[in-house]
């Protein structure tokens, strides 16, 4: 095993720029790692060996020519299979998109390519990002590198697993209710959901348009910040994109100083329903934050208990409409077109065959919630809850600089354990969902292993809109202390994968 795969993204970029190693060698080391371990992890749906080596070689050519490189040039990355990639399959983990090759790149992908980041391939996910375990992928579950019998979180389990299995130092995820942060928490990696509108949604297959946001995944806070800075910024192709300067997340990650800050612990996110070991590590983090000179206070967000229910009306409603286009007429798989059937029958058979049970469940839920006569009671009420959640956050941020909670109530559960119990599955996102409902930025940071199962626990940090830099400042300050305490990155504690 090449030691290149254990290196941080920032370090690799420096080595490539100084010609200590070539980008092609870096890409090859990671491709080799994927070949060795991904049979067990199943983080990748599609590995683009040729494309990765070609873009790595383009970076090397620039190095030789003495051209100015971006901060992450030559660093490999796993891309969630929900971002459109010109010429590369994009399935969203669904049979209905089997065989679709987009004719265009998502804005995030364009930015990655322009920055010389080497896209290794497309990572596994719950079908159309619906799920918290990646078990709902039509192409088989991804396995948690900490314990292959456990889930890597979801929906972006492929992205977090590829990072924590050292298949890539960086990954892109998307987060609609926690799909970057919860996988980061259960795999011992870092994940950030930026402010809604901070990163372009153009070319990201929509789950719930008002909640979706792409963000960075990495093994440490600085790498996450570097990737954040590459993908963020205004995009005229996305009407909901914010047209103001990107917060300086890199400087914040380097500052790592929380002395004098006020940190709020959200009373409603913790306690009952949270695993003992999760609470232990969370409480330790609170003490650590105080020891770094920040003041910790408890804040109450009384509407949060209603967030999950409201979310499961808004998300399916928007999703039922967003997913209507998957009918086999213009792209993707077409089923049942034997010349004898009407177009409606073909659409119907295509959708029935193409969508898995969780997607079907949410489409039906959303269709029902938007129906005439039910709209006010469901979608309308859910929007009111959303307003209340925003008001709770506004009131909290009038008192504190950042808010914290556990990212997920439990550590990684066993594959199959919650598959037949949608409500239990949905509860995984109870702490992350309010952040999406309010459009705020949130980070999950590894804060140790739960004593009872030796599995990673995540701390969620939440900041006001467009104050994403605060996440990185606070995250980096805590991370620095923990690295000292642990004597190195937490992923060093993960078992070696067979085949490596």
């Amino acid at each position: 095993m090449s030691d290149l795969i254990k290196k941080d993204a920032s370090e690799l970029a420096g080595m490539v720029a100084s010609r200590e190693v070539s980008a092609v060698e870096v890409a090859q080391a990671h491709l080799d790692r994927i070949a060795a371990v991904d049979g067990a992890v199943n983080a990748f749906l599609h590995v683009d060996t040729e494309g990765a080596l070609a873009s790595a070689s383009a970076v090397d050519a620039k190095v030789k020519a003495g051209e100015q490189l971006s901060v992450l040039a030559g660093v490999p990355l796993g891309l969630k299979d929900i971002l459109a990639t010109n010429g590369l399959p994009t399935t969203c983990g669904s049979r209905v998109l089997d065989g679709w090759i987009p004719p265009y790149d998502a804005t995030v992908v364009t930015k990655l390519r322009e920055a010389g980041i080497v896209i290794l391939g497309k990572t596994n996910m719950d079908e159309f990002a619906m799920g918290s375990s990646t078990e709902h992928s039509a192409f088989g579950p991804t396995h948690n590198p900490w314990d292959l019998e456990r889930i890597p979180g979801g929906s972006g389990g492929g992205s977090s697993a590829c990072v924590s299995a050292f298949e890539a130092p960086l990954a892109i995820g998307t987060d609609t209710g926690g799909s970057i942060r919860q996988p980061a928490a259960v795999t011992g990696s870092v994940g950030v959901k930026p402010t809604y509108g901070g990163v372009s949604r153009y070319g990201i297959v929509a789950l719930a348009s008002s909640l979706d946001q792409a963000g960075p995944c990495a093994r440490n806070v600085l790498d996450t910040a570097l990737l954040h800075s590459v993908i963020a910024g205004h995009d005229p192709m996305d009407s909901t994109s914010i047209n103001s300067p990107v917060p300086d997340v890199i400087a914040a990650a380097k500052r790592a100083d929380i002395k004098g800050m006020k940190v709020g612990v959200i009373k409603e996110l913790g306690g009952e329903g949270y695993q003992a070991g999760v609470r232990t590590r969370f409480d330790e983090s609170v003490a650590l934050i105080e020891s770094l000179g920040a003041e910790v206070v408890e804040v109450s967000c009384p509407s949060f208990p209603a967030a999950l229910a409201a979310y499961y009306l808004i998300l399916p409603s928007e999703a039922s409409s967003n997913l209507a286009k998957f009918d086999g007429i213009r792209f993707g798989n077409r089923v049942g077109d034997d010349g004898s059937k009407s177009v409606e029958q073909v659409m119907s058979e295509t959708r029935a065959a193409g969508f898995g049970p969780e997607v079907t469940r949410r489409i039906i839920l959303g269709t029902y919630a938007l129906s005439a006569g039910y709209y006010d009671a469901y979608y309308g009420q859910a929007q009111k809850v959303r307003t209340l959640i925003k008001q709770d956050f506004d009131a909290s941020f009038a008192k504190v600089d950042v808010l914290i909670s556990p990212t997920a109530p439990t550590t990684a559960f066993k594959i199959g354990e919650k598959l037949d119990d949608p409500l239990a599955m949905y509860l995984n996102d109870v702490a992350t969902i309010p952040v999406n409902m309010a459009g705020l930025p949130g980070m999950s940071l590894p804060i140790g292993l739960a004593p009872e199962d030796n599995l990673p626990v995540g701390l969620q940090i939440i900041a006001p809109a467009m104050a994403d830099d605060r996440l990185y400042n606070v995250g980096a300050a805590i991370e620095r202390e923990l690295l000292t305490k642990w004597g190195g990155p937490i992923l060093g504690l993960a078992p070696e994968l067979a085949g490596a």
Binding site: Y104, A206, A208, S210, D238, S239
Partner: protein
Amino acid sequence: MTEATMNYDEAISKFDPVLGLEVHVELGTNTKMFCGCSTVFGAAPNTQVCPVCLGLPGALPTLNKIGVESAIRIGLALNCEIAEWCRFARKNYFYPDMPKNFQTSQYDEPIAFEGYLDVEIDTDEGRKTFRVPIERAHMEEDTGKNSHVGGATGRIHGADYSLVDYNRAGIPLIEIVTKPITGTGKYAPEVAKAYVAALRDILRGLGVSDVKMEQGSLRCDVNLSLRETPESKLGTRSETKNVNSLRSVERAVRYEVTRHAARLAAGEQIVQETRHWHEDTGISTSGRPKSDAEDYRYFPEPDLLPIAPSREWVEELRAALPENPAVRRARLVADWGLSEIDMNTVINSGALDLIVEAVDAGVDPAAARKWWTGELARIANDRAIELEELPVLPSHLKRLEELIAAGSLNDKLARQALEGVIAGEGDVDAIVAARGLAVVSDDGPLLAAIDEALAADPAVVETIKSGKLAAAGSVVGAVMKATRGQADAARVRELLFEKLGVSE
């Protein structure tokens, strides 16, 4: 299947018609409502498309500001309130011509609402104004276009296969919906037609659409119901789709009145349904049943920001609105002393604005009209260009008319001078000088030319002398030809009769 109908007069004597008109206008923006694709009509199928208007996974809409501006101007011209804040909504239904299987439209928050349009029609008591109440004007996107190949009807049923052209998908539409129009009595067909015509004139005047009904850039759905008396509650309506000429609007209303009346008189129910209009046979046939409860699962479009047009902007647009075409027309008819028929000719020629400009510059209205609907229309037509593209300025026409009035140019010479203007030879005086265009006013050369003409055709002398004065025309013509048109024809005639000793 032909349905029973009742004689129109009888139908109207028994029932009170209530109209509703839904008009879809395709805006003439250069690009589509939510992407940068071209909107030019008639391109090869699926050549004016991109990930956005094809609804490819991941693509997102961005708003065309000119589309919004046009919607506001239309709203203002129809005396509507303009929303201070409104949103787009998704109208969800599955159909292959809809790339996303939802149409981005507006639902309960239209950009314009609560307006009216006054229309004039001829009645038994003379010309009369009807006020058509307008409920709303909202923005939406057009769908693609299906064509069904094989089968007898060109409709989807029985076709071998279907093709979809998405060039039209995403072209901005404004849907203008009236409230129920009551009180028209027997004039319902005329009011419907006059409304669509007036709307078309307003839209043309605003320059927001080419309003070509035959190309589908203005499409009309006619809703009609009957009730026993104006006091009865509204009856069940039918919705006749895509009635695509003014004449058809009138005919469709008339037909539906007679069809509804026959059913109601026979004790049958009216089926709430959409109907297809058949231009050739002048009847409608049953389409699909439609209920008020048809569920499009509308919800606010999360991919677009709300629209909040500032009051300053709205007032700017209001101040810059052109004069209402009906008001303007009435004013010009009076000022210029035209008949309604002459005015129709002017409007249909597309020369109204050009004539107004010339008149404003001091050209006599009749002369301005003559030039722009006559010679200049012919030239533009020959060259297959628009009238506006001719380099003829009001000042050119003014000078030509001055020279004609002074007797130094005749019509034919003036036309030659105009040719010079169009050829870019300079101003009128320069062209007259350079081309040597001047009426020959010296009798000497004219008399010589008359002698020559008579010598060439001696028989004509006796013909004229015998009283057939019309024969003089050929002599005058010969003289005009000999002088290359520069003679004053009236003077030639005078000299000829003098010479032959005949009096007119």
